[in-house]
């Protein structure tokens, strides 16, 4: 180790630190007591992060030939980058800097000034001992493959695809369903502007469908992901459609002629029917159908083949088989969306027991002009118009028995429903809410409008939805039992129709998907972003981005924004052509490695590979994310880590406990 020459800089942060910690004393102490440990100069300054503060460091580095820097100020999460840059511009490797958080961890949390000052000394002593073992680190550069994979053909995914494709980059889009479009395609109107969902979505779908830079895989799923940022190898499993895509014209004769009717649980939310050979909806992209094997008479009984006979272009091919396609991409954007909360889980709300209790998605189909009722809002019998309608908010949301979180879209959705019911049936509408949340642009105005339209708002969590009539006027009705918290009394509201504004939930297979792509979800199942505020569309895994509801409940504008943002991030990457990775990595010393294979299942990124021939393990630096779990696990001490080495941590421990003072002079 070359003789360390360390500069210590104690920040006042105005009075944030200086108000509690005697910074002058601390700096003096460091220069006196840590001299023997390599501290050449120690200063305190009002705002170290200010340009003057940074220049101070740069000047000292040159003047005192410093080769290590310790900055005692705020949390490294705020200013580590700042001071690394400062060190760098003075010609020193940025990783020879160490930050000590005497604000968040000292002055802000302690009141006893003496104790806080002593703690600051100990913390700096720890930082000094640690920085002695810092090494100059060079970021790792890996080339970026220009193609991108987008998973999920909902609005967020579509937006991302178009941004990238229009920018001239190759994009692969993988969608599980026969058509792209996602939930948005099921809606009739979109809040708050009430423009028709299809009218604004279909053009985008079409341009995805025929974009020269887009390769579309519907009725397909990603089954394997290997590699790392810049060059992922992805396997796509393409289910057999039994329709020759190249010659099908989408004339839909097969759908008309197919004798087998199937209840459509997916697109029509169970309200309508489709055939065994089908496209989910008229404007489907791609618009050639799929044959659903489970329901196709030919596949089940071996007879029929009506579609085959009647297809004008002979596009039907029962012999088609599933395919696996392997593609190379540099980045991946995940936009797999959400599932609707299953209202059956709240039995007291009567869904699936009481015919005229509908879910939000069912109502979307009811009110959709392309839906099963052609947009007529009627009861299950398909004819009767409701006279009174109750809309229940927060179904499965903000409820510790189901989901603690707010699903974000239900308020606006419910308001939209209230308006549509009012508009289509003139029925009397009740909204049962806990709070009304209309924060975004023009949202509250929409709320005002619905209020003016005469919708009745009752503040209270609905206790029960029942058909058990107890008093006059309740017979044949559905009664909503609620405590009106504004009137402070229990009320029973008889209605004809109930709409449950069900919350949003992570996809049932969210955890599996996260594992597949090596990213992490919260215990709820929403993907954890790299930083909740400053980097909401990146994940901990380099090269994997997220957009839309996968990251958390959100509405269409937010999803679109994220789709575009993710695409922008990827485009930036592609333009750089290569990417620099944080040089915090683990490496295996092959002479010391005994090939015991303890570490082999320590890595969630599969960065550790075992060479059978030499019987040693090796860490792939591009895949390694630097968590250090394998280092701690290696029984032979054969794995070492940069940035958080054993030496650094052990030294910091001694420093924090002031053992270094006994060791003095080094």
């Amino acid at each position: 180790m070359i003789e360390p020459r360390i500069g210590v800089y104690v920040c006042h942060c105005g009075t944030n630190i200086a108000g509690v910690v005697d910074v002058a004393e601390v700096s003096k102490w460091a220069s006196e007591h840590l001299k023997g440990r390599g501290v050449v100069i120690s200063r305190d300054y009002k705002f170290m992060c200010s340009s003057l503060g940074q220049e101070l460091i740069e000047k000292d580095i040159k003047e005192y030939r410093l080769n290590r820097v310790v900055v005692a100020a705020c949390s490294p999460h705020l200013h580590e980058a700042t001071f690394r840059t400062a060190t760098k511009s003075a010609g020193l490797n940025p990783y020879l800097t160490e930050m000590v958080s005497i604000r968040e961890q000292d002055s802000w949390v302690h009141t006893d000034k003496i104790a806080a000052t002593n703690k600051a000394k100990a913390m700096i002593s720890g930082g000094v001992e640690r920085v002695r073992y810092h090494e100059p680190l060079e970021p790792l550069h890996v080339p970026i493959h220009p193609a991108t994979l987008v998973v999920g053909g909902g609005i967020a995914g579509i937006q991302a695809v178009l941004e990238l494709a229009d920018a001239g980059q190759k994009v692969y889009l993988v969608e599980r369903e026969p058509s792209i479009g996602g939930h948005m395609a099921q809606f009739d109107k979109t809040f708050p502007t009430l423009d028709c969902s299809a009218c604004i979505l279909t053009p985008k779908m079409v341009s995805v469908g025929k974009h020269p830079n887009v390769e579309l895989f519907t009725w397909s799923e990603v089954t394997n992901v290997e590699g790392y940022v810049g060059n992922f190898t992805v396997n796509i499993h393409k289910k057999a459609r039994f329709v020759k895509e190249d010659i099908c014209t989408g004339c839909s004769i097969c759908q008309e002629k197919c004798p087998k009717k199937v209840i459509d649980d997916v697109f029509e939310a169970g309200l309508g029917y489709r055939k065994a050979v089908y496209t989910p909806f008229a404007q489907a992209i791609p618009n050639y159908p799929v044959i659903d094997k489970e329901n196709c008479t030919y596949f089940q009984k071996g007879t029929c083949r009506a579609c085959e006979k009647l297809c004008p272009t002979k596009a039907i091919d029962f012999t088609q088989e599933d395919q696996d396609i392997s593609i190379q991409v540099g980045n991946i954007i995940l936009a797999t969306g959400y599932d609707l909360f299953d209202s059956r889980r709240i039995p007291q709300y009567g869904y699936a027991r009481l015919a005229n209790v509908f879910t939000s998605l069912e109502f979307e189909r009811l009110s959709n002009s392309a839906g099963p009722t052609g947009g007529k809002v009627v009861l299950r019998d398909g004819v009767t118009e409701p006279k009174t309608v109750g809309i229940v908010h927060c179904v499965g949301s903000r409820d510790k028995n189901y989901n603690n979180y707010c699903s974000a879209i239900c308020c606006m959705q419910s308001l939209k429903f209230a308006h549509l019911v009012e508009e289509r049936t003139g029925a009397e509408v009740y909204n049962f809410y806990i709070d009304i949340r209309t924060p975004a642009k023009d949202y509250d105005e929409f709320y005002q409008r619905v209020l003016e339209e005469g919708t009745i708002f009752i503040r209270g969590k609905v206790a029960e939805v029942t058909d058990a009539a107890r008093m006059a006027g309740e017979e044949g009705k559905i009664i909503i039992q609620v405590e009106d918290t504004l009137m402070g009394k229990q009320r029973r509201i008889p209605v004809d129709m109930v709409i449950l504004s069900a919350g949003l939930e992570p996809r049932r297979d969210a955890k599996a998907v996260a594992k597949l792509f090596g990213i992490s979800c919260s215990s709820a199942g929403w993907v954890i972003e790299k930083h909740p505020k400053l980097d909401p569309i990146a994940t901990m895994t380099d090269g994997i981005f997220i957009a839309g509801c996968m990251q958390g409940p959100k509405d269409i504008p937010a999803s679109v924004a994220q789709g575009a943002a993710a695409a922008a991030r990827v485009l930036g990457r592609i333009q750089q052509k290569e990417i620099a990775l944080e040089p915090i990595r683990a490496t295996v010393n092959e002479t010391q490695c005994s090939g015991c294979r303890i570490c082999n299942n320590m890595c969630p990124y599969n960065a550790i590979l075992f060479h059978e021939d030499r019987a040693v393990s090796e860490v792939n630096p591009a895949l390694c994310q630097g968590c250090g779990t394998c280092i701690a696990a290696c029984p032979a001490g054969a794995i070492s880590g940069t940035g958080f080495s054993n030496e650094q941590v052990m030294a910091q421990i001694e420093g924090l406990l002031l053992l270094n003072l006994e060791a003095e002079p080094a």
Binding site: Q592, C593, S594, R597, M602, P635, A636
Partner: protein, 334 residues
């Protein structure tokens, strides 16, 4: 050439079992090499030692001393210091001198606990001691007072009392390794080789026992820990993968994986791997990391399969570990 013009060699045992001496005798013909190349000035087990001569020797007049055995008493400490003074190169020979070895397990108990167990009358044991006598450092016999050395509260490897040049691990070191070291020293004397850097471990491999173990290995996940008497292990497969705690992964190579090859677990006598600070920490971390459960309760259950972690992970290295001894040993009240 006359004896005293040859470089001087000494071998001495501290708190040891004699196995190291036997291991040296087991170099067989090499003993003759030692005789031929060295003036053996002090080797109690093999020849008449002239202690007063050793005392009289000039400091650093012995070229190499193999010191085996740990420091348990004042006498051990005295001799370790004496031989350090007299020797140019002091080799901590074997596990006891290097890391405390099995006798270091005594550091799990206090001196008093230990004395009581050994000397007090106990149910079902053979000691009869109605007056509850304990050995006295100083005792007045009718004819006069006689002494025995002070017994320290803990056992220490020699590097905790003297400066050590090299470490030769193993309980005992394998004779082949000893022979290699003897050859090395001879080469150094002849100027045909250079000494390794001070503090190096000599006569051992650079990796761990698994490196020399022939058993087949796989990615490890452990659902249940078992003990050798519970079942008939697969003779060709990694013992740890079969749920038996084998210390091979953490133990320095050099023995040739003798025990695992003989169907027994590695118990760790070759000590820590290169650069490792605390042997037990390595074993503990490695073994627990591969436990196949994410459930706290289930993990507790699985860990019941390791009834004696301190004994199993510090079998040979407790005295040289970071903690060194149990709290009761440190806080032993005199």
């Amino acid at each position: 050439m006359s004896a005293n013009s040859k470089p001087k060699f000494a071998m001495y045992w501290g708190a040891s079992c004699g196995g190291c001496e036997v291991a040296v005798l087991n170099t067989h013909e090499k003993i003759l090499d030692i005789d031929a190349n060295f003036d053996v000035v002090f080797w109690p087990v093999a020849m008449d030692a002239k202690y007063k001569d050793v005392e009289a020797m000039e400091d650093e007049s012995i070229l190499v001393t193999f010191y085996n055995g740990g420091i348990r008493t004042s006498e051990n400490e005295h001799l370790a210091k004496l031989l350090r003074r007299k020797s140019k190169i002091l080799v901590a020979f074997g596990s006891c001198a290097s890391e405390g070895c099995i006798p270091g397990l005594a550091n799990l108990y206090s001196k008093n606990e230990l004395f009581n167990t050994v000397y007090a009358q106990r149910d079902g044991c053979s000691t009869v001691n109605p007056e509850n006598i304990r050995p006295q450092q100083n005792w007045d016999a009718p004819e006069g007072s006689i002494q025995i050395p002070e017994f320290y509260s803990i056992l220490r490897p020699i590097n905790q009392v003297v400066d050590v040049d090299y470490y030769l691990p193993g309980c005992p070191p394998e004779s082949e390794r000893i022979a290699e070291v003897v050859d090395l020293v001879i080469q150094v004397i002849r100027g045909e080789a250079a000494l390794p850097p001070k503090g190096s471990v000599i006569g051992a491999g650079a990796s761990t026992v698994c490196d020399e173990c022939k058993r087949s290995r796989n990615v490890k996940t452990i659902k249940k820990f078992v003990r050798i008497q519970d079942f008939m292990p697969d003779p060709s497969m990694c013992l740890l993968e079969q749920g038996i705690v084998c210390n091979g992964p953490a133990t320095r190579s050099g023995c040739g994986a003798l025990c695992p090859s003989a169907g027994a677990v590695c118990i760790g006598c070759y000590g820590v791997a290169e650069g490792v600070i605390d042997y037990g920490a390595r074993m503990l971390s490695a073994v627990s990391s591969v436990i196949d459960s994410r459930n706290e309760k289930e993990i507790e259950k699985i860990i019941e399969g390791i009834p004696d972690p301190a004994g199993m992970f510090y079998r040979f290295s407790l005295a040289s570990s970071l903690l060194g001894a149990s709290k009761s040993a440190w806080h032993d009240k005199e």
